[in-house]
Point group: C2
Chain length 226, copies 2
């Protein structure tokens, strides 16, 4: 099946929205994610439905079919492998890789994908801690980690994934010690969602507005310490 770059982008966006929220993805959510208008999304969804890549219920949103999910996983694999490769071998900072990977993800061959995976020794996560789908494109488990907003004062957690894409936000997080692998002690969770934490990496505390904190996924420290 011959898919355009744009179609792949829609499938990837739907996949990622299905990961964040659930089930049916609405037209407007896709429109926001891809920065197009909703009529544009509607007409694209019709095409994807014709090709059997999404299940659609008019006025109620879409879900990916198995076939659509496989395509999305392929694109996500390309994207995350590229991000990993760019940081490992071309000296990119994690804050910069997203945009470059977005440009390239649709234009690499299967051969290129395999060589990159090989050069990286089949990595399991990208520089943001996001899991890289395996070569067989089996749907991975996406339940790893919870948003840091779900924890409370005093909890100590390990950062698993920083799923933001904005270079400025990522640079800020890095300079304040919020990166995959670091320990975070939760100092405060404000009623409006802002999380303040202390990183094991830096001296100063960090405050993360809700929008940012939502993308920081963490797991509780195996054994707690006061």
């Amino acid at each position: 099946m011959m898919l355009s770059d744009v179609m792949e982008d829609y499938l990837k966006a739907i996949y990622q929205l299905q990961g964040e929220h659930e089930e049916r993805i609405k037209t407007s959510a896709i429109a926001d994610a891809l920065e197009v208008t909703s009529p544009t999304v509607t007409s694209m969804l019709e095409k994807l439905e014709d090709r059997g890549l999404v299940d659609r219920e008019k006025y109620r949103g879409v879900t990916l079919t198995d076939e659509g999910e496989t395509v999305a996983l392929e694109v996500v694999r390309h994207h995350r492998l590229l991000e990993a490769y760019l940081t490992e071998h071309l000296d990119y900072d994690w804050s910069e890789v997203h945009a470059e990977a977005d440009r390239l993800e649709h234009h690499i061959s299967e051969d290129f994908e395999a060589r990159v995976a090989d050069a990286l020794d089949e990595p399991e996560v990208d520089p943001h801690g996001s899991p890289i789908p395996s070569a067989d494109l089996e749907p991975p488990d996406r339940s790893a980690g919870k948003s840091v907003t779900e924890f409370a004062e005093g909890d100590v957690v390990v950062v698993e994934e920083v799923a933001d894409h904005d270079p400025e936000v990522l640079s800020y997080l890095a300079t304040h010690g919020v990166e995959p692998g670091v320990e975070l002690e939760i100092l405060e969770v404000a009623p409006f969602g802002m999380v303040t934490a202390r990183s094991s990496e830096t001296v100063d505390d960090v405050s993360l507005p809700e929008g940012v904190a939502h993308h920081v996924r963490v797991t509780p420290l195996p054994q707690a310490e006061s």
Copy 2:
């Protein structure tokens, strides 16, 4: 100026045709190179003319303007840097790099270009021996080497460039010792253009049909030997 990938392809094709033959490039030559029909080429040439990238004389072909040439050089630089990178760092064979570079050349950022050039230490030629335009995009000298078909029995030459793109042809040439840097002793130039030569690299002789030989560019050995 925002150019589409396709426009870049046209400019690159015109640039390369201007290198091979001369001056005005005809519609049909571009159509052959890009595998589209001639009306398609005509309409694209009109667009490129509107943007000041080509000079066009109806029914008589086009030439690149300075601006058009700069765009073409940028694309060619991307292409050849990618070819070099793929062979150096991702273990590609020289016969395979062209297709991959063609896919990627329009989709890398200036930053990526710079990082690749840096990783390769600003290379001057790609794996086929073709010169890589410098970062300032000044038009390079394209007179290096002459086609091997212009030599005669007994001449000894050094291969500078193998400008073919067909993987099968390139594999064949490599296994018969025809690659940039090797010495070739011309054994015969048949009236229909076929060149037979002996490579300094291999024992067996190679025969190159005219179409292939035309792409093998060589320079005479500094000091001749019988």
